[in-house]
């Protein structure tokens, strides 16, 4: 009788069933889409962070950059010095080339002995130090100095000073041209491939760094960078005025992001060439277990009062660009929109159920008059609402899948910028800045996907059941309060 009555009621009151189901369907679909996109954004953030910090890195240690020294802010970060005999001089002028390997601006270094301290902390399974550098190359032609007469004309035409770095072309004595290029370089421990930036890469060509490369002038390049520059395994590249043999190229294991750096060289060589002997900029730490992370973080913070210890969660905040905007949008607007629509759908279901109970006053009064118990009537109303909710849930599930499929078909691209390793969360951009030598950031394009997980499906079904039960409980409660005599009298 229960199912017969239920089926007849739902079929006989199609409009009410349809309105409740549509409301629930829209709400559930929206919640599904927001949840899936939110998961996609989190995955994209994780991919970006993974490419920078490596797979399995639970914590990173860096040192916040201090305030700029007097006169540092705004000035150039790299100074090139040329002697009178530098360059190759011809009748037309002098060709100059110089490159320097320096620590990124905004990046602070600290003593490499911190690594020993980290490895001595309980709960630390592995740790590896890196040094983030930038190789800046000045490459250009300076024209022949003018004659006396020409000098007078030149003085009238311009001030004759050198242009600021980065203002390529048009500098010098009216007609000189030069380029300034920068390449990100990371000094890594060649023996440590389980943690750190190289743990999130796969070999594209050649071979990777290993313990035998300590002290060697060898480099592994990002495959994308190598292709852009036309460099292949076996070629030599110039870093800090020194030739490095390219032994391999690597690509990110994530399809969504590039690797952390353009080039990877042995840590000791990086320290020596940049004049940072015994210094590092980051330490990647892997905890023995995920549950240990908070305790390990606390211990590290206690042991290293001068350094900043960040978890992956902290680092997620350092991902900016449109991916960061998407994350904010999802977590703020998406969340509240979902809650609002869900609340509206629940409210519609409740109001329609109450309206239905009111309209069926005589029906329920009659059933009570012929002996139906309150429990039986409440069960009937709740059952009808539950089924309406489930119909809405099924429709919402289908609608949600379609919405997610559309998003995945469009595959929107989001630009993202993550803070340099040493800057740590909130340390983007460094101090001073200006010119091309400001702190380098890891910029990449990520394709946003909205994965469908079991939890999304479970959530949709759960919401449908919850909405149905909520409406049914309130409608049933109202029906149970009807006294048969009053119910019959009110419609007499």
């Amino acid at each position: 009788m229960f199912f017969t009555y239920l089926r007849r009621e739902l079929a006989g009151r199609r409009r009410q069933t349809a309105i409740i189901a549509v409301g629930m369907a829209l709400a559930i679909a929206l919640v599904m889409i927001v949840d899936a996109v939110s998961t996609g954004v989190r995955d994209a953030q994780a991919a970006v962070l993974e490419s920078v910090y490596g797979v399995g890195t639970d914590l990173t240690i860096s040192q916040a950059a201090g305030p700029p020294e007097e006169g540092e802010g705004g000035g150039p970060g790299v100074r090139f010095e040329f002697g009178t005999d530098d360059g190759e001089t011809t009748d037309d002028g002098t060709t100059l080339s110089n490159s320097r390997l320096t620590v990124d601006r905004g990046t602070s270094t600290f003593d490499a002995s911190v690594l020993d301290t980290v490895q001595g902390v309980d709960g630390v399974a592995a740790a590896s130090a890196t040094l983030s550098l930038t190789n800046v190359t000045f490459d250009g032609d300076l024209p022949e100095p003018p004659t006396d007469q020409a000098a007078g004309d030149q003085a009238a035409a311009g001030d004759g000073t050198m242009p600021a770095p980065g203002e390529g072309g048009g500098g010098g004595f009216g007609g000189g041209a030069f380029d300034v290029t920068s390449v990100t370089v990371t000094g890594v421990d060649p023996a440590a491939d389980a943690i750190g930036p190289l743990s999130a890469v796969e070999l594209a060509d050649g071979r990777g760094l290993d313990s035998g490369h300590t002290g060697e002038y060898v480099a592994v390049l990002d495959a994308e960078y190598a292709t852009t520059e036309g460099v292949a395994v076996g070629d030599t590249i110039d870093l800090g005025g020194t030739g490095f043999e390219v032994v391999g190229t690597v690509a990110s294991t994530s399809a969504d992001a590039a690797t952390a750096s353009n080039a990877y060289i042995p840590l000791d060589v990086a320290q020596s060439l940049s004049g940072m002997d015994g210094l590092v900029s980051d330490i990647s730490v892997q905890a023995a277990s995920a549950s240990d992370i908070p305790a390990v973080k606390a211990d590290l913070e206690e042991a290293l009062p001068d350094q900043t210890v960040s978890t992956q969660e902290d680092l997620a905040a350092s991902v900016s660009g449109s991916l960061g905007s998407a994350s904010s949008l999802i977590s703020s607007l998406g969340l509240w929109l979902s809650i609002a629509v869900l609340a509206a759908a629940f409210l519609i279901a409740i109001l329609f159920t109450i309206q239905g109970v009111t309209r069926r006053t005589r029906e329920f009064g009659t059933l009570k008059a012929i002996g139906w118990s309150n429990r039986r009537i409440v069960g009937q109303v709740a059952g009808e609402s539950l089924v309406q909710g489930l119909i809405g849930g099924a429709a919402g599930l289908a609608l949600g899948f379609i919405g997610i499929a559309v998003i995945n078909a469009i595959s929107p691209s989001l630009a993202t910028t993550s803070a340099p390793m040493a800057a740590g969360p909130g340390g983007e951009g460094g101090f001073g800045g200006g010119g091309p030598f400001a702190a380098t950031q890891q910029s990449t394009e990520v394709v946003l996907s909205a994965p469908v997980t079991l939890s999304v499906v479970a959530m949709a079904v759960g919401l449908a059941v919850l909405g149905g039960l909520l409406a049914g409980a309130i409608g049933g409660w109202r029906a149970s309060r009807l006294r048969p005599a009053e119910a019959l009298r009110s419609v007499a």
Partner: protein, 223 residues
């Protein structure tokens, strides 16, 4: 047998107190056909609700056989209605989405009758009111007289001791009215039902064994 002793019923309606029944005392023997007449608002329906265990008196005592309806909890009143008392309403009060057969079956639902037996008894009840061929029609596909026959079948399918009818012919034309009254009289006679009918229609009232007049909450016997 119904026994009413000094039964009063008052309602609060906003600032006013309405005395629907005033100190009513009467008895209705088992198997009697009683008609209750009186002006609108005189207390007829209220008295029927007391007899039908749908409501309790404000003061006084009302019993059906050995059961004291005035002091019975809601659940037991519901059980009494499910087993002992059948109702027929002026507006038929059928469930609009259920077929005639299913409407009749609703009366057996609270008794926990198995589905198969429920169907069999409902079919027999519809046959007894001459509607076997309309079993699978919903109320909107039936005439007023047919709907009232379904309502009577629903009231009788549980084989109650008492049948209470509130203006059972109020919405019917004369010919149908007579058919329904013939049916009710026959059931009363054949099954020994106690039948209490509230009516404005003197033609209906004249067919009763006993006529009561209820005005201003007070009952008087009519010849």
């Amino acid at each position: 047998m119904y026994t009413l002793e000094n039964v009063s019923k008052t309602y609060r309606q906003k600032e006013r107190t309405i005395h629907a029944l005033k100190d009513v005392s009467l008895s209705i023997p088992t198997g009697q056909l009683v008609a209750i007449q009186g002006p609108t608002g005189g207390g007829k329906s209220t008295l029927l609700q007391m007899l039908g265990a749908l409501d309790r008196p404000t003061t006084g005592r009302i019993s059906l056989g050995e059961a004291d309806l005035s002091g019975m909890p809601d659940a037991k009143l519901g059980r009494m209605r499910a087993t002992e008392i059948g109702f027929v309403f002026q507006g038929f009060n059928l469930i609009p989405t259920l077929t005639a057969q299913e409407n009749v079956e609703t009366a057996l639902e609270p008794l926990g009758v198995p589905a198969e037996e429920r169907r069999r008894r409902a079919t027999a009840a519809l046959e007894s009111v001459g509607l076997a061929d309309r079993a699978h029609h919903v109320p909107s596909e039936l005439s007023g007289g047919q709907q009232q026959r379904v309502a009577i079948a629903r009231a009788l399918v549980k084989e109650p001791d008492v049948l209470l009818a509130d203006e059972p012919t109020g919405n019917l034309d004369e010919q149908t009215r007579d058919e329904i009254m013939d049916l009710l009289e026959g059931l009363h006679r054949d099954r020994g039902l106690t039948l209490v009918i509230v009516t404005h229609d003197s033609a209906v009232a004249r067919r009763a064994e006993r006529r009561l007049h209820l005005a201003h909450g007070t009952v008087t016997e009519r010849a």
